[in-house]
């Protein structure tokens, strides 16, 4: 898509907007961690009360789940017509 076409597209998907969305997202991410400086979080088990624990844990576990799914995909993915349910 050329730059001129891009301007005709919906404002939400223009590269400029997306850059801004990323900036805002980054800011919000920072704020949620910074908020923990003002909000006392009492962990049930110790580690879960650390600064940014949930941020790190959420990010880390999600990356792990995506990687695991990717690896499992090599084993279990088959073409869509594998079971041939659409044959009549």
């Amino acid at each position: 898509m050329s730059e001129r076409d891009a301007h005709k597209d919906h404002w939400l998907v223009r590269p400029g907007t997306i850059r801004w969305l990323w900036r805002i997202f980054g800011l919000v991410l920072g704020l949620t961690v910074a908020a923990q400086l003002f909000v006392e979080v009492h962990g049930h088990f110790g580690a879960d009360g650390w600064l940014g624990f949930n941020a790190l844990y959420g990010f880390g576990t999600c990356v792990a789940m995506v990687l695991f799914a990717k690896l499992l995909g090599f084993l279990v993915k088959r073409p869509e017509n594998y079971y041939r349910d659409d044959d009549v």
Binding site: V33, H44, N54, C62, F68, L72, V76, R78, E80, D85
Partner: protein, 561 residues
């Protein structure tokens, strides 16, 4: 004072019958009125056993009231109404009638006063839900429906044999907490878990639901698995085995949803994931945990139906159901996008949505019971829910690339149903007491603490970051994922064919061997006894004299030597 208790399930069942036989013009009126009348009747049911009857010589309790039962029946009736609103213009009459009868089965189970009544309504659900699957009208839905009903009838048989065993060995069919210490209770346990889509048979759910019609899957998403959760709460609260089973379901749902391309199959795996949370809660078994299971079932039915409605609206408008074919629909379907996103936020337990106030009860129960590993896994799973359902679903359907499709928002009744459920999802999130007041045990829990909101936002938003960072690894492929159902769809069939071929070869081999033996025996007989056989042919006189001479010579030698 004279009071008549009408079984709520009966009202909806009669409504379903009337929908089936009435003129097309009257159908929407009856179909919309019946769930509302049912809801009214549900709230007239007081606590305790109310209606008894005699069935096959047994005294059966048709209705037993109670807060937990009322909660489930209420959500089932509300869901029947929302589902009918969503589908009455689009669905075939038999789909509508079957869906209502299916819902009446779920309400019947909710109020069942003993195991016999529970079983009867349990089978009613199986019978009518398969009609909803078949209403998909495709070859795929026909075959998936057959697999679905076989699975549920098998589960039903296990349940029935278990209940009969309990009847014979204890003489009571009362619904009470059972322990897994004999064969009967194990069978009941397994029979219920089949309907909960527990391993190893989880695959039936993601196999059948996406094959139904765009309207049918809305009904299917609500009833079967949640009645199983209710049955587990009533019969097996605090059974520790359920914690492991539930955790397996949670992560199975996430991983398979991540691999999936069909939008309704993503949501189906996500049902298994969510039911996993409830099963874990039942396994923990404290009052807080059982409240959590019930609250989560209540909230889940609404947001999951909302997600299925938005998916159904997209499929109804575009005829496409794959992530790889969709995208960019926010341009022309703004209302569906907003409602689908609200459902996605609710399932992810964002603050101000129903998921936030219900899911945290279970996590808190795990923490209070000092189940460290369970708590950490549940927290990871909460992030995973946002990953596979909260972002993946709306992203691939409404955003990502521009598919070039410009469908409009669906007809007004579909829009109205989606708006209704969106309001419920946000309303429950903003006013948690509405739900907490209905729970079976008193609730001493405040979801909106600053710490809870901050930690939850951290968890979810960083899970969102992970999604966009890992996006290149999640490119959609035109594939399905093998599951354990491979064994009964391919493996067992192939093994049976192998066995059959082997037996055939053995039969042929045995035939050949037998024929060879017979040929050999007859050849030997011919050699010795046939016309030229040594024992049968005519001997010349000379040779006889020769042999007599030999014999005499032998005798002489033996006598005189």
């Amino acid at each position: 004072m004279f009071e008549i208790i009408i079984p709520p399930a009966l009202i909806l069942l009669i409504g379903a019958f009337l929908v089936a036989v009435s003129r097309p013009g009257m159908r929407p009126v009856i179909a919309l009125a019946a769930p509302l009348a049912t809801l009214y009747a549900i709230w007239q049911v007081p606590d305790g056993i109310l209606l008894s009857a005699t069935f096959l010589g047994y005294e059966v309790q048709l209705i037993e009231g109670g807060p937990l039962r009322r909660l489930f029946a209420t959500v089932f009736a509300c869901m029947a109404f929302a589902g009918v609103l969503f589908s009455f213009k689009q669905a075939k009459w038999y789909e509508l009638a079957a869906a209502m009868a299916y819902a009446s089965g779920a309400i019947g189970v909710s109020f069942a006063g003993d195991l016999i009544v529970m079983f009867v309504f349990w089978e009613l659900m199986a019978l009518f839900s398969v009609v909803v699957v078949w209403s998909g009208g495709t070859f795929g839905s026909k075959r998936a429906g057959i697999r679905y009903i076989v699975m549920h009838l098998l589960g039903g048989i296990l349940l029935k044999v278990g209940i009969e065993g309990i009847m014979i060995h204890t003489g009571s069919v009362e619904i009470r907490a059972l322990t897994l210490d004999n064969f009967d209770t194990w069978l009941v346990f397994i029979g219920i878990l089949v309907n909960a889509a527990a391993p190893p048979v989880s695959a039936w759910l993601a196999d059948a639901y996406p094959e139904s019609s765009p309207t049918g899957s809305v009904f299917l998403s609500a009833f079967t698995t949640k009645t199983a959760v209710l049955a587990l709460i009533l019969l097996f609260p605090g059974q520790p085995l359920l914690i492991g089973i539930g955790l397996w379901m949670i992560f199975y749902g996430i991983i398979y949803a991540l691999l999936e391309n069909d939008i309704r199959r993503i949501l189906s795996y996500s049902i298994i994931n969510q039911v996993g949370f409830m099963v874990v809660a039942v396994g923990i078994g404290t009052e807080l945990a059982l409240n959590g299971a019930a609250a989560h079932a209540f909230a889940h039915i609404f947001y999951k139906a909302l997600l299925f409605m938005s998916a159904g609206a997209v499929i109804h408008q575009t005829g496409k159901n794959k992530c790889s074919e969709l995208g960019g629909l926010f341009r022309s379907m703004p209302l569906t996008t907003v409602c689908g996103t609200i459902g996605a936020l609710a399932i992810s337990a964002f603050p101000l949505t129903s998921g936030f106030i219900s899911k945290s009860l279970t996590a808190s129960a795990a923490a209070e019971s000092h189940l460290t590993l369970v708590w950490f896994l549940l927290t990871a799973a909460s992030a995973g829910v946002f990953l596979h359902a909260g972002i993946k679903f709306p992203w691939y359907v409404f955003f990502q690339k521009d598919s070039g499709l410009r469908p409009r928002d669906p007809p007004w009744n579909m829009q109205a149903a989606m708006v209704l459920l969106s309001v419920i999802c946000i309303g429950l999130g903003m006013f948690p007491q509405l739900l907490y007041a209905l729970l079976p045990y008193p609730v001493d829990y405040e979801p909106y603490t600053a710490a809870h909101v901050v930690t939850q936002l951290q968890l979810l938003l960083f899970a969102g970051l992970a999604f966009f960072v890992m996006l290149p690894m999640m490119k959609r492929t035109l594939t399905i994922s093998l599951d354990l159902d491979w064994f009964w769809r391919v493996g067992f069939v192939a093994a049976f064919e192998k066995l059959e071929a082997g037996l055939n070869a053995a039969r042929r081999g045995l035939g050949l061997a037998a024929a060879a033996v017979i040929r050999r025996v007859s050849a030997e007989l011919m050699r010795h006894h046939g016309a030229q056989g040594v024992l049968a042919r005519a001997w010349p006189v000379g040779s006889m004299l020769l042999w007599v001479a030999v014999l005499l010579a032998g005798l002489m030698i033996a006598r005189y030597a």
